[in-house]
């Protein structure tokens, strides 16, 4: 049975933890709004980019000589996985969900005897993966210093990928991130960016009606555009990720605050009970002392 003093100390400590989680929730809520806005603002760019590439790839007839970034190297031996996570913890299952998704993909690749290469973006992903997959991690990038997500950072990652592709270091590249659905739901995503997955977009066959004029020719535009598209995709993933991170943190901290509240209630009852027990005990002692006289 803890003493009254112990209980009092515990109550104070839980209360101050609650204050912290509450503050974190408020901060996350404010940041979430901004992150969500940014994600929405960034959407037109990636959508338009996709459209242009779609139209371009439709007009390419000579698949053999098409840029490799679009059609792939023709092999699928080496997989490069970009795992995008947050730099900070205390955001519920946010990082763990991405890692889980990525790990199941890794296992599949390893079991198929293919080569796996991992680039982690964000320090939490690196921390969690290095225990098991240290030997596969080729690069670890973190943007802790930059306050906001900017295209410049995404471009850096994009350039690393292109550089590796040009050196023939991988055949297939996939990125892992959390897609922001709403504040409580974030869906871990796996998206292949090299070669581009076309089949998904085939549903609107109307695009073929547009006979575009290309200046210079399609190939040259594509080879200029595809590297940019990779950076754009990464940037999109980073934006979605940051909105998801804040949403996830908000929910997690909200839960934590509520749990702390419950704990305080319980401890307070226990405290009051033992206080009352002590008083009753004293009373009995006094009364029985008086009776014996």
């Amino acid at each position: 049975m803890p003493s009254l003093d112990d209980l009092r100390k515990r109550i104070t400590s839980v209360k101050s933890t609650q204050k912290i989680t509450k503050a974190m929730k408020m901060v996350a809520a404010a940041k979430l709004r901004k992150a969500q806005e940014n994600a929405e603002k960034g959407r037109p760019y990636s959508e338009k980019m996709n459209n242009v590439i779609l139209n371009l790839s439709k007009s390419i007839t000579d698949k053999e000589n098409a840029p490799k970034l679009l059609v792939g190297t023709g092999e699928e031996k080496v997989h490069l996985c970009i795992v995008l996570t947050a730099d900070r913890g205390l955001c519920g299952g946010f990082n763990t969900n991405i890692i889980k998704k990525a790990k199941s993909y890794f296992e599949k690749i390893i079991s198929e005897n293919k080569t796996l290469k991992i680039i982690t973006v964000g320090s939490k992903g690196y921390d969690q993966l290095k225990r098991q997959y240290k030997s596969y991690i080729v690069e670890n990038i973190s943007f802790k210093e930059s306050k906001n997500i900017n295209y410049f950072d995404a471009d850096k990652v994009g350039k690393i990928i292109i550089e590796k592709f040009e050196k023939n270091e991988f055949d297939i590249c996939a990125i892992f991130y959390n897609k922001f659905k709403n504040v409580i739901t974030q869906i871990p995503q796996e998206q292949q960016i090299v070669p581009l997955n076309e089949d998904k977009d085939d549903k609107d066959g109307s695009g073929n009606d547009n006979d575009y004029e290309f200046e210079p020719d399609e190939d040259e535009i594509l080879s200029n555009l595809l590297p940019k598209n990779i950076s754009t995709q990464i940037f999109k993933a980073m934006l979605e990720n940051s909105a998801s991170e804040q949403g996830s943190r908000m929910t997690a901290m909200d839960n934590a605050t509520r749990n702390a509240g419950e704990l305080v209630d319980r401890l307070t009852i226990e405290y009051n009970r033992s206080r009352q027990a002590a008083i009753t005990k004293e009373l009995i002692e006094i009364i029985s002392g008086a009776e014996s006289l």
């Binding site: 940014n38 603002k41 960034g42 037109p44 760019y45 990636s46 338009k48 980019m49 459209n51 242009v52 139209n55 371009l56 900017n150 295209y151 995404a154 471009d155 547009n210 006979d211 575009y212 004029e213 290309f214 200046e215 210079p216 535009i221 200029n224 555009l225 940019k228 754009t232 940037f235």
Partner: protein, 132 residues
């Protein structure tokens, strides 16, 4: 019949400019400047460093772009670019910094002709901005 069309300039962070009352846009495409009027044939091209001029009924706007992609379709001109600023609020320091970094890049030996051409062009355009 009106001779106006839409323009959307977007950069990765946000939609930069969106207007529906322009009658001419001049873009610095990689093979030379293109003037776009209403009902231009659908075109996809990419940009070299230069000035985009947007003529609308009420005003004329100029923007500096470094690179990007343009698509014209159904009387909508979409410009996708990662580096753009309005000439009106051009930052002198930024311009001179860009010039010097481009010149530093030019002085390296291992750049190919195309890149050299683009860089030279960029310096030229930036210098013309800083004079104005």
């Amino acid at each position: 019949m009106s001779n106006l069309f839409n323009i959307d300039i977007v950069n990765p962070e946000q939609s930069f400019l969106s207007k529906d009352n322009v009658f001419e846009v001049v873009i610095p495409a990689v093979e030379g400047e293109i003037g776009i009027l209403k009902d231009h044939i659908p075109i996809i091209s990419f940009l070299k460093p230069g000035i985009i001029r947007v003529f609308s009924e009420s005003e004329e706007q100029s923007f500096y772009v470094e690179d990007g992609i343009v698509e014209f379709k159904d009387n909508t001109l979409s410009v996708l670019t990662s580096s753009i600023f309005d000439l009106k609020d051009a930052d002198k320091n930024f311009v001179s910094e860009s010039i010097s970094s481009a010149e530093a890049e030019l002085s390296k030996d291992n750049i190919d002709d195309q890149k050299r051409f683009l860089l030279n062009h960029k310096v030229e355009v930036l210098k013309s901005i800083s004079i104005n």
